[in-house]
């Protein structure tokens, strides 16, 4: 069997007495792999360990067969991991274009260049504009990121992530805090992106997850209780048990 793009191998992590990742093994290939679970299930902690913001206590993380468990975040990014954050993370005093151009710059050539103004590098700007256009922000390129609406910042973060030309996109609740219209627009964008990138998605919006995901893994108290195609997960008794009493989980069927 070919090595999957991302493989987590018996990953463990605890904060003091609290186990947040309990022996999690899973693999991600193409399409959208969604990670769901009730609040406090350890989804974001898991994403942090994959991206390198947190170090696991045990187990291995393999990207394309290469063990990246010990690498710091910056070096994982250079190997093709791009991520968005649950709480939007952009450079507030940069324009949207400059935020994205910085991501392009990370992929293209050395950044130890001291003379030429970066803002006048057409190659960087063109690639950045293309990424902005992909998420529907082309008209807002010159707006400072800090002055954008919440939904726009979420779109901008997606543009930054794809401008890095990653092998794997880690999206930590890209829909969090977005209004209904913004949510629809973001889902549209994600649907388009999944044809081009492998995506590991953490998301609370179950309707969105079951509409988009090709594969769903369910995390409860740090442990993986189920993993499979959306239909199988919907029917899984253990998953129903975990979500018991939460009315907003549309496990009954597609919307």
């Amino acid at each position: 069997m070919a090595e999957p793009l991302l493989r987590l191998d018996h990953l463990r992590k605890s904060f003091g007495g609290l186990t947040v990742t309990q022996d999690v093994s899973l693999s991600v290939d193409g399409g959208i792999h969604a990670l769901i679970g009730p609040n406090g299930a350890g989804k974001t902690t898991l994403i942090h360990q994959v991206s390198g913001l947190l170090r696991p206590d045990g187990g291995r993380i393999l990207l394309g067969g290469e063990d990246i468990t010990a690498l710091p975040m910056a070096r994982r990014a250079r190997r093709g991991l791009a991520r968005t954050f649950q709480i939007t993370s952009v450079v507030a005093d940069f324009s949207a274009l400059e935020n994205v151009a910085l991501a392009v710059q990370a992929r293209r050539g050395s950044s130890f260049r001291f003379i030429r103004p970066a803002a006048q590098e057409t190659a960087l700007n063109e690639a950045a504009m293309a990424a902005l256009a992909d998420v529907g922000l082309a008209a807002r390129a010159d707006v400072p990121a800090g002055a954008m609406s919440h939904g726009e910042k979420r779109q901008l973060e997606l543009a930054i992530a794809i401008a890095a030309e990653p092998r794997l996109l880690l999206l930590d609740e890209p829909l969090a805090g977005a209004g209904p219209e913004e949510t629809e627009r973001l889902i549209d964008i994600l649907q388009r992106l999944k044809a081009r990138y492998a995506i590991l998605l953490v998301e609370h919006d179950m309707q969105a997850v079951f509409a988009m995901a090709d594969h769903v893994s369910v995390l409860v108290y740090g442990a993986l209780i189920a993993s499979g195609p959306p239909d199988a997960i919907r029917a899984d008794p253990a998953v129903r048990q975990a979500y018991l009493g939460e009315d907003d989980i549309p496990l009954a069927g597609p919307r």
Binding site: V91, D93, A101, Q105, A106, F112, I115
Partner: protein, 316 residues
């Protein structure tokens, strides 16, 4: 193009004013000496602004960089080497080397720890200078001669010294501006704004910050070289944390949002200090109050004052 010109107008006007000053009635020796001192400190302040405003690195040891430059002049002067073509590169390299060595450790920390560790390194340099008995120790060292430029005593003429300082200041400003606009500067600025985002993109901020720290150190060394020549006397006080604090204050007084803030801040600081000291014996008290007021009421520094006033008028 027009937008660039508008953004840079304050700095350009200030530099032009300094160029014209000797011909507009500010040509007497005493005034030129004062202006030279202001321009040299402004040079160090612009380099510090590159660190504070560009990299988010609030150094409390920037005076030590000037100290290294000045003591390079002293030590070579003692050996009767006064040729600027030798002394200036030595001054720059000594300061940049000190910045590189201490920065390698200091930049691993951040926030208050960075401030304290740069202050500690500066004080180490200060106490080392006080113990250099061969160069006057505590009492300082009076130069045998000002540096010559390729054998010509260019620095001895007040007017040419004025323009050399102005050229150095303008060069520093252009260099810092170029660095901030480059790819390098973009990473540096982004890491100040959001270090986690920058790491998630694949950049380790450390080498960028260290290089910026060493460059600012080298500029500080050049400023120290000029200051030693301006006063023809060098004392350990050049290294002191009080001087570092003054430089930091110039940067904050002027505003950290742009490099011209440091220019304005340094000139305002030196001229205000001079003027006040002639008005009142206890001028330092008043100076302190003015500085506190400026921090309280000018959040974006003197450079942000026009914008602040315009906003106030619009509001009525």
């Amino acid at each position: 193009m027009i937008r660039t010109l508008r953004a840079e107008a304050p700095a350009l006007l200030l530099l032009m004013g300094l160029a014209l000053a000797p011909f507009l009635g500010f040509g007497e020796g005493y005034v030129l000496t004062l202006l030279a001192r202001a321009m040299i400190l402004a040079m160090a302040a612009v380099a510090l602004s590159l660190l504070v405003g560009g990299g988010g690195l609030v150094s409390m040891g920037h005076a030590a960089m000037m100290g290294f430059g000045a003591y390079a002049v002293v030590i070579l002067d003692d050996l009767r080497i006064t040729e600027a073509a030798i002394v200036l590169p030595v001054a720059i390299l000594a300061a940049a080397g000190f910045a590189l060595a201490t920065g390698a450790i200091a930049i691993r920390t951040s926030g208050v720890h960075f401030i304290m560790i740069t202050l500690a390194f500066g004080q180490m340099a200060f106490f080392t200078a006080t113990s250099l008995a061969a160069y006057g120790g505590d009492d300082g060292y009076t130069l045998y001669a000002r540096s010559t430029v390729l054998g010509v005593a260019l620095l001895n003429d007040r007017l040419s010294f004025h323009f050399i300082c102005l050229g150095a200041l303008a060069g520093t400003w252009l260099l810092a501006r170029m660095l901030l606009a480059s790819r390098f500067g973009r990473v540096l600025r982004a890491a100040r704004g959001n270090a986690v985002r920058v790491q998630a993109l694949g950049f380790d901020p450390y080498p960028y910050r260290l290089v910026a720290y060493a460059i600012a150190g080298g500029i500080g060394g050049a400023a120290g070289f000029l200051l030693a020549n301006a006063t023809e006397f060098v004392a350990p006080a050049y290294f002191s944390w009080q001087r570092s604090g003054e430089l930091l204050f110039m940067v904050i007084l002027g505003g950290v949002a742009g490099l011209h803030g440091a220019l304005i801040g340094a000139l305002a600081f030196v001229l205000l200090e001079e003027w006040l000291s002639h008005q009142w014996e206890h001028w330092r008290m008043l100076f302190g109050v003015l500085l506190i007021l400026s921090v309280l009421f000018l959040p974006r520094g003197l450079a942000g004052l026009p914008g602040q006033l315009a906003k106030g008028f619009r509001r009525g």
